[in-house]
Amino acid sequence: MIRHLRGTLARAGIHRLQLALTAVALVVGFIFAVQSRTEQSIETGLQVSSGRLGEVAYRYRAEDDRQAAMRAEITDLRRAIASEEQRAAAEQRVAATLADELRTLRADAGLTALRGPGVAVTISDSRRPLRPGEDPNLVLIHYSDVRAVVNMLWAAGAEAIAVNDERIITTTGISCVGTTILCNTRRMAPPYRIVAIGDPEGLTAAVQSRTGILAQLRIFEFPVTVILGTDLVVPAYNGGFVHRYATPAGTGG
Protein backbone atom coordinates (compact mmCIF):
# COMPACT_ATOMS: atom_id res chain seq x y z
CA MET A 1 0.00 0.00 0.00
CA ILE A 2 2.65 2.45 1.13
CA ARG A 3 5.00 1.21 -1.53
CA HIS A 4 2.26 1.63 -4.09
CA LEU A 5 1.61 5.20 -2.89
CA ARG A 6 5.30 5.98 -2.98
CA GLY A 7 5.50 4.65 -6.49
CA THR A 8 2.60 6.82 -7.55
CA LEU A 9 4.19 9.87 -5.95
CA ALA A 10 7.55 9.11 -7.51
CA ARG A 11 5.93 8.88 -10.89
CA ALA A 12 4.44 12.29 -10.26
CA GLY A 13 7.95 13.63 -9.56
CA ILE A 14 7.45 13.91 -5.81
CA HIS A 15 10.18 12.44 -3.62
CA ARG A 16 10.00 11.64 0.07
CA LEU A 17 12.43 14.43 0.86
CA GLN A 18 9.97 16.86 -0.60
CA LEU A 19 7.24 15.34 1.50
CA ALA A 20 9.37 15.71 4.62
CA LEU A 21 10.16 19.30 3.74
CA THR A 22 6.47 19.93 3.23
CA ALA A 23 5.57 18.43 6.58
CA VAL A 24 8.21 20.48 8.36
CA ALA A 25 7.17 23.62 6.52
CA LEU A 26 3.60 22.96 7.53
CA VAL A 27 4.59 22.69 11.18
CA VAL A 28 6.78 25.79 11.02
CA GLY A 29 4.08 27.77 9.26
CA PHE A 30 1.56 26.76 11.86
CA ILE A 31 3.81 27.66 14.81
CA PHE A 32 4.81 30.90 13.10
CA ALA A 33 1.21 31.95 12.56
CA VAL A 34 0.22 31.09 16.12
CA GLN A 35 3.27 32.84 17.52
CA SER A 36 2.77 36.00 15.49
CA ARG A 37 -0.88 36.09 16.47
CA THR A 38 0.03 35.69 20.13
CA GLU A 39 2.64 38.40 19.79
CA GLN A 40 0.06 40.65 18.14
CA SER A 41 -2.39 40.13 20.98
CA ILE A 42 0.35 40.88 23.53
CA GLU A 43 1.29 44.06 21.73
CA THR A 44 -2.28 45.28 21.36
CA GLY A 45 -3.06 44.29 24.93
CA LEU A 46 0.05 45.52 26.74
CA GLN A 47 1.72 47.76 24.14
CA VAL A 48 5.03 45.96 24.68
CA SER A 49 6.81 43.16 22.82
CA SER A 50 6.95 39.71 24.34
CA GLY A 51 10.64 40.23 25.13
CA ARG A 52 9.68 42.81 27.73
CA LEU A 53 7.04 40.67 29.37
CA GLY A 54 9.35 40.03 32.32
CA GLU A 55 9.71 43.74 32.91
CA VAL A 56 5.96 44.18 32.65
CA ALA A 57 5.44 41.40 35.16
CA TYR A 58 7.94 43.03 37.50
CA ARG A 59 6.21 46.38 37.24
CA TYR A 60 2.85 44.73 37.67
CA ARG A 61 4.03 43.09 40.87
CA ALA A 62 5.50 46.38 42.10
CA GLU A 63 2.22 48.19 41.38
CA ASP A 64 0.34 45.38 43.04
CA ASP A 65 2.47 45.76 46.15
CA ARG A 66 2.00 49.51 46.06
CA GLN A 67 -1.74 49.06 45.72
CA ALA A 68 -1.77 46.70 48.69
CA ALA A 69 0.19 49.25 50.71
CA MET A 70 -2.27 51.97 49.66
CA ARG A 71 -5.21 49.80 50.64
CA ALA A 72 -3.62 49.28 54.04
CA GLU A 73 -3.13 53.03 54.26
CA ILE A 74 -6.76 53.61 53.37
CA THR A 75 -7.81 51.25 56.12
CA ASP A 76 -5.55 53.05 58.58
CA LEU A 77 -6.84 56.44 57.51
CA ARG A 78 -10.44 55.30 57.79
CA ARG A 79 -9.74 54.12 61.30
CA ALA A 80 -8.06 57.44 62.11
CA ILE A 81 -11.05 59.32 60.68
CA ALA A 82 -13.40 57.24 62.81
CA SER A 83 -11.46 57.98 65.99
CA GLU A 84 -11.22 61.66 65.07
CA GLU A 85 -14.94 61.72 64.49
CA GLN A 86 -15.52 60.18 67.87
CA ARG A 87 -13.28 62.78 69.46
CA ALA A 88 -15.04 65.55 67.55
CA ALA A 89 -18.37 64.15 68.71
CA ALA A 90 -17.11 64.21 72.31
CA GLU A 91 -15.95 67.80 71.83
CA GLN A 92 -19.28 68.63 70.30
CA ARG A 93 -20.99 67.21 73.37
CA VAL A 94 -18.81 69.47 75.52
CA ALA A 95 -19.63 72.42 73.28
CA ALA A 96 -23.32 71.54 73.43
CA THR A 97 -23.14 71.38 77.22
CA LEU A 98 -21.42 74.75 77.27
CA ALA A 99 -24.03 76.18 74.92
CA ASP A 100 -26.77 74.79 77.13
CA GLU A 101 -25.17 76.34 80.19
CA LEU A 102 -24.73 79.64 78.37
CA ARG A 103 -28.40 79.59 77.37
CA THR A 104 -29.43 78.94 80.97
CA LEU A 105 -27.18 81.71 82.24
CA ARG A 106 -28.47 84.16 79.67
CA ALA A 107 -32.01 83.31 80.68
CA ASP A 108 -31.04 83.77 84.31
CA ALA A 109 -29.45 87.13 83.54
CA GLY A 110 -32.60 88.25 81.73
CA LEU A 111 -31.05 88.41 78.29
CA THR A 112 -33.62 86.17 76.66
CA ALA A 113 -37.33 86.64 76.44
CA LEU A 114 -39.20 84.03 78.46
CA ARG A 115 -42.69 82.70 78.14
CA GLY A 116 -44.88 80.56 80.30
CA PRO A 117 -47.84 80.56 82.66
CA GLY A 118 -48.15 83.27 85.29
CA VAL A 119 -50.11 86.36 86.26
CA ALA A 120 -50.45 89.86 84.85
CA VAL A 121 -51.20 92.52 87.45
CA THR A 122 -52.38 95.90 86.18
CA ILE A 123 -52.58 98.87 88.51
CA SER A 124 -53.35 102.46 87.64
CA ASP A 125 -53.99 105.79 89.27
CA SER A 126 -57.29 106.07 91.09
CA ARG A 127 -60.11 107.61 89.16
CA ARG A 128 -61.70 108.80 92.37
CA PRO A 129 -62.24 112.58 92.23
CA LEU A 130 -60.06 114.40 94.68
CA ARG A 131 -61.98 115.99 97.57
CA PRO A 132 -61.07 119.47 98.56
CA GLY A 133 -58.07 119.63 100.85
CA GLU A 134 -56.99 116.08 100.04
CA ASP A 135 -53.39 115.21 99.18
CA PRO A 136 -53.15 114.31 95.46
CA ASN A 137 -50.65 111.63 96.40
CA LEU A 138 -53.56 109.63 97.72
CA VAL A 139 -54.87 108.95 94.20
CA LEU A 140 -51.49 108.37 92.48
CA ILE A 141 -49.62 105.09 92.11
CA HIS A 142 -46.21 105.48 93.65
CA TYR A 143 -42.98 103.68 92.77
CA SER A 144 -43.24 101.99 96.17
CA ASP A 145 -46.55 100.39 95.14
CA VAL A 146 -45.04 98.93 91.98
CA ARG A 147 -41.95 97.80 93.93
CA ALA A 148 -44.18 96.18 96.54
CA VAL A 149 -46.05 94.20 93.89
CA VAL A 150 -42.76 93.13 92.27
CA ASN A 151 -41.27 92.13 95.61
CA MET A 152 -44.34 90.14 96.50
CA LEU A 153 -44.21 88.30 93.20
CA TRP A 154 -40.51 87.51 93.74
CA ALA A 155 -41.30 86.29 97.20
CA ALA A 156 -44.10 84.07 95.81
CA GLY A 157 -41.64 82.33 93.51
CA ALA A 158 -41.87 84.27 90.27
CA GLU A 159 -39.16 83.26 87.82
CA ALA A 160 -39.20 86.35 85.61
CA ILE A 161 -40.92 89.71 85.97
CA ALA A 162 -41.36 92.65 83.65
CA VAL A 163 -42.98 96.00 84.37
CA ASN A 164 -44.49 97.59 81.28
CA ASP A 165 -42.30 95.30 79.16
CA GLU A 166 -39.16 96.36 81.03
CA ARG A 167 -37.45 93.27 82.36
CA ILE A 168 -36.53 93.25 86.04
CA ILE A 169 -32.94 92.04 86.33
CA THR A 170 -30.43 91.82 89.17
CA THR A 171 -29.46 95.48 88.97
CA THR A 172 -32.94 96.86 88.37
CA GLY A 173 -34.09 99.57 90.69
CA ILE A 174 -37.60 101.04 90.80
CA SER A 175 -37.54 104.68 91.79
CA CYS A 176 -39.53 107.81 91.19
CA VAL A 177 -38.70 110.74 88.98
CA GLY A 178 -41.20 113.54 89.46
CA THR A 179 -44.60 112.21 88.51
CA THR A 180 -43.32 109.12 86.69
CA ILE A 181 -41.61 105.92 87.73
CA LEU A 182 -38.14 104.98 86.63
CA CYS A 183 -37.48 101.31 86.07
CA ASN A 184 -34.04 100.33 84.76
CA THR A 185 -33.46 103.43 82.64
CA ARG A 186 -36.98 103.87 81.35
CA ARG A 187 -39.61 106.29 82.53
CA MET A 188 -43.07 104.87 82.90
CA ALA A 189 -46.52 106.26 83.31
CA PRO A 190 -49.64 104.46 84.49
CA PRO A 191 -51.18 102.02 83.91
CA TYR A 192 -48.50 99.68 85.14
CA ARG A 193 -48.71 96.16 83.85
CA ILE A 194 -46.60 93.78 85.87
CA VAL A 195 -46.16 90.39 84.23
CA ALA A 196 -44.69 87.52 86.25
CA ILE A 197 -43.97 83.98 85.08
CA GLY A 198 -44.33 81.29 87.69
CA ASP A 199 -46.90 79.06 89.36
CA PRO A 200 -50.13 81.00 88.55
CA GLU A 201 -52.00 79.78 91.65
CA GLY A 202 -49.17 80.62 94.03
CA LEU A 203 -48.59 84.03 92.50
CA THR A 204 -52.29 84.88 92.52
CA ALA A 205 -52.63 83.77 96.11
CA ALA A 206 -49.71 85.99 97.08
CA VAL A 207 -50.92 89.13 95.33
CA GLN A 208 -54.53 88.67 96.37
CA SER A 209 -53.76 88.13 100.05
CA ARG A 210 -55.91 90.14 102.37
CA THR A 211 -52.99 92.00 103.88
CA GLY A 212 -51.20 92.44 100.57
CA ILE A 213 -50.54 95.62 98.65
CA LEU A 214 -53.34 95.07 96.18
CA ALA A 215 -55.87 94.86 98.98
CA GLN A 216 -54.65 98.21 100.29
CA LEU A 217 -54.85 99.73 96.81
CA ARG A 218 -58.37 98.48 96.39
CA ILE A 219 -59.34 100.16 99.63
CA PHE A 220 -58.26 103.44 98.08
CA GLU A 221 -60.28 102.60 94.95
CA PHE A 222 -57.31 102.15 92.69
CA PRO A 223 -58.25 100.05 89.62
CA VAL A 224 -56.50 96.72 90.06
CA THR A 225 -56.82 93.72 87.78
CA VAL A 226 -55.15 90.34 88.18
CA ILE A 227 -55.27 88.08 85.14
CA LEU A 228 -54.02 84.49 85.10
CA GLY A 229 -52.23 83.68 81.89
CA THR A 230 -51.16 80.35 80.46
CA ASP A 231 -48.77 81.84 77.93
CA LEU A 232 -47.38 85.15 79.07
CA VAL A 233 -44.24 86.66 77.55
CA VAL A 234 -41.58 88.49 79.53
CA PRO A 235 -39.30 90.34 77.10
CA ALA A 236 -35.53 90.33 77.29
CA TYR A 237 -33.56 93.02 79.04
CA ASN A 238 -32.26 95.35 76.36
CA GLY A 239 -30.17 97.72 78.42
CA GLY A 240 -26.48 97.58 79.08
CA PHE A 241 -24.40 96.19 81.91
CA VAL A 242 -21.95 98.68 83.37
CA HIS A 243 -19.16 97.33 85.51
CA ARG A 244 -16.94 100.32 86.11
CA TYR A 245 -15.73 99.34 89.56
CA ALA A 246 -16.61 95.73 90.02
CA THR A 247 -14.38 92.97 88.69
CA PRO A 248 -14.86 89.24 89.08
CA ALA A 249 -13.30 88.07 92.36
CA GLY A 250 -12.00 84.97 90.69
CA THR A 251 -13.26 82.39 93.12
CA GLY A 252 -16.64 82.38 91.46
CA GLY A 253 -19.87 81.17 92.97
Partner: protein, 122 residues
Amino acid sequence: MWLPILGLLAGLALGLVVSVQVPLSYVKYTAIAILASVDTILGGIRAQCEHRFDLWVFLSGFVVNTVFAAALTALGDLLGLDIYLGAVIAFSIRIFNNIGFIRRDLLGLVWRDRAPEAEEPG
Protein backbone atom coordinates in the same frame (compact mmCIF):
# COMPACT_ATOMS: atom_id res chain seq x y z
CA MET B 1 9.91 22.83 -4.97
CA TRP B 2 6.33 24.05 -4.94
CA LEU B 3 5.11 21.44 -2.47
CA PRO B 4 7.05 22.71 0.62
CA ILE B 5 5.95 26.28 -0.10
CA LEU B 6 2.38 25.06 -0.35
CA GLY B 7 2.87 23.30 2.99
CA LEU B 8 4.19 26.51 4.55
CA LEU B 9 1.20 28.48 3.29
CA ALA B 10 -1.19 25.78 4.51
CA GLY B 11 0.48 25.86 7.94
CA LEU B 12 0.21 29.64 8.09
CA ALA B 13 -3.45 29.51 7.15
CA LEU B 14 -4.11 26.80 9.69
CA GLY B 15 -2.34 28.76 12.43
CA LEU B 16 -4.35 31.86 11.64
CA VAL B 17 -7.63 29.97 11.57
CA VAL B 18 -7.21 27.69 14.57
CA SER B 19 -7.62 29.68 17.80
CA VAL B 20 -4.58 28.32 19.61
CA GLN B 21 -2.52 30.72 21.69
CA VAL B 22 0.99 30.27 22.94
CA PRO B 23 1.05 30.67 26.74
CA LEU B 24 2.59 34.01 27.61
CA SER B 25 5.46 32.51 29.55
CA TYR B 26 6.52 30.38 26.51
CA VAL B 27 6.35 33.09 23.86
CA LYS B 28 10.09 33.71 24.03
CA TYR B 29 10.91 30.02 23.64
CA THR B 30 8.65 29.45 20.66
CA ALA B 31 10.15 32.49 18.94
CA ILE B 32 13.63 30.97 19.20
CA ALA B 33 12.27 27.57 18.16
CA ILE B 34 10.78 29.12 15.01
CA LEU B 35 14.12 30.71 14.19
CA ALA B 36 15.83 27.34 14.61
CA SER B 37 13.30 25.54 12.42
CA VAL B 38 13.53 28.19 9.70
CA ASP B 39 17.29 27.64 9.73
CA THR B 40 16.79 23.89 9.47
CA ILE B 41 14.38 24.21 6.56
CA LEU B 42 16.77 26.48 4.66
CA GLY B 43 19.54 23.99 5.40
CA GLY B 44 17.36 21.24 3.96
CA ILE B 45 16.60 23.25 0.84
CA ARG B 46 20.28 23.96 0.37
CA ALA B 47 21.11 20.27 0.79
CA GLN B 48 18.46 19.43 -1.77
CA CYS B 49 19.96 21.93 -4.20
CA GLU B 50 23.36 20.39 -3.69
CA HIS B 51 21.92 16.86 -4.05
CA ARG B 52 23.17 15.67 -0.65
CA PHE B 53 19.86 15.73 1.20
CA ASP B 54 19.48 13.13 3.94
CA LEU B 55 15.99 12.75 5.36
CA TRP B 56 17.10 11.66 8.81
CA VAL B 57 19.73 14.34 9.16
CA PHE B 58 17.07 16.85 8.16
CA LEU B 59 14.34 15.61 10.50
CA SER B 60 16.66 15.09 13.48
CA GLY B 61 18.20 18.50 12.83
CA PHE B 62 14.78 20.07 12.78
CA VAL B 63 13.69 18.50 16.08
CA VAL B 64 17.00 18.81 17.93
CA ASN B 65 17.76 22.38 16.80
CA THR B 66 14.28 23.55 17.71
CA VAL B 67 14.23 21.89 21.12
CA PHE B 68 17.79 22.87 21.92
CA ALA B 69 17.19 26.52 21.03
CA ALA B 70 14.18 26.62 23.34
CA ALA B 71 16.11 24.80 26.08
CA LEU B 72 19.00 27.24 25.75
CA THR B 73 16.62 30.16 26.18
CA ALA B 74 15.10 28.50 29.23
CA LEU B 75 18.58 27.96 30.67
CA GLY B 76 19.36 31.64 30.07
CA ASP B 77 16.21 32.62 31.92
CA LEU B 78 17.23 30.29 34.75
CA LEU B 79 20.63 31.96 35.02
CA GLY B 80 19.38 35.48 34.36
CA LEU B 81 21.61 35.58 31.31
CA ASP B 82 20.43 36.46 27.79
CA ILE B 83 21.76 33.23 26.23
CA TYR B 84 18.96 33.33 23.66
CA LEU B 85 20.72 36.31 22.10
CA GLY B 86 23.59 33.97 21.26
CA ALA B 87 21.16 31.50 19.69
CA VAL B 88 19.50 34.32 17.73
CA ILE B 89 22.86 35.49 16.36
CA ALA B 90 24.04 31.98 15.54
CA PHE B 91 20.82 31.04 13.76
CA SER B 92 20.68 34.36 11.93
CA ILE B 93 24.22 33.89 10.62
CA ARG B 94 23.40 30.35 9.52
CA ILE B 95 20.17 31.48 7.86
CA PHE B 96 22.04 34.15 5.87
CA ASN B 97 24.71 31.60 4.98
CA ASN B 98 22.15 29.08 3.80
CA ILE B 99 20.28 31.69 1.80
CA GLY B 100 23.54 32.71 0.19
CA PHE B 101 24.33 29.13 -0.80
CA ILE B 102 20.80 28.51 -2.06
CA ARG B 103 21.02 31.69 -4.12
CA ARG B 104 24.28 30.56 -5.72
CA ASP B 105 22.97 27.08 -6.32
CA LEU B 106 19.88 28.50 -8.02
CA LEU B 107 22.02 30.87 -10.07
CA GLY B 108 24.19 27.90 -11.06
CA LEU B 109 21.03 26.03 -12.01
CA VAL B 110 19.90 28.83 -14.32
CA TRP B 111 23.30 29.60 -15.85
CA ARG B 112 25.06 26.26 -15.73
CA ASP B 113 28.11 27.60 -17.44
CA ARG B 114 28.74 30.08 -14.64
CA ALA B 115 28.39 27.49 -11.85
CA PRO B 116 32.13 26.85 -11.27
CA GLU B 117 32.81 30.55 -10.82
CA ALA B 118 30.15 30.93 -8.11
CA GLU B 119 32.69 30.87 -5.34
CA GLU B 120 33.01 34.57 -4.66
CA PRO B 121 31.87 35.55 -1.18
CA GLY B 122 28.54 37.28 -0.42
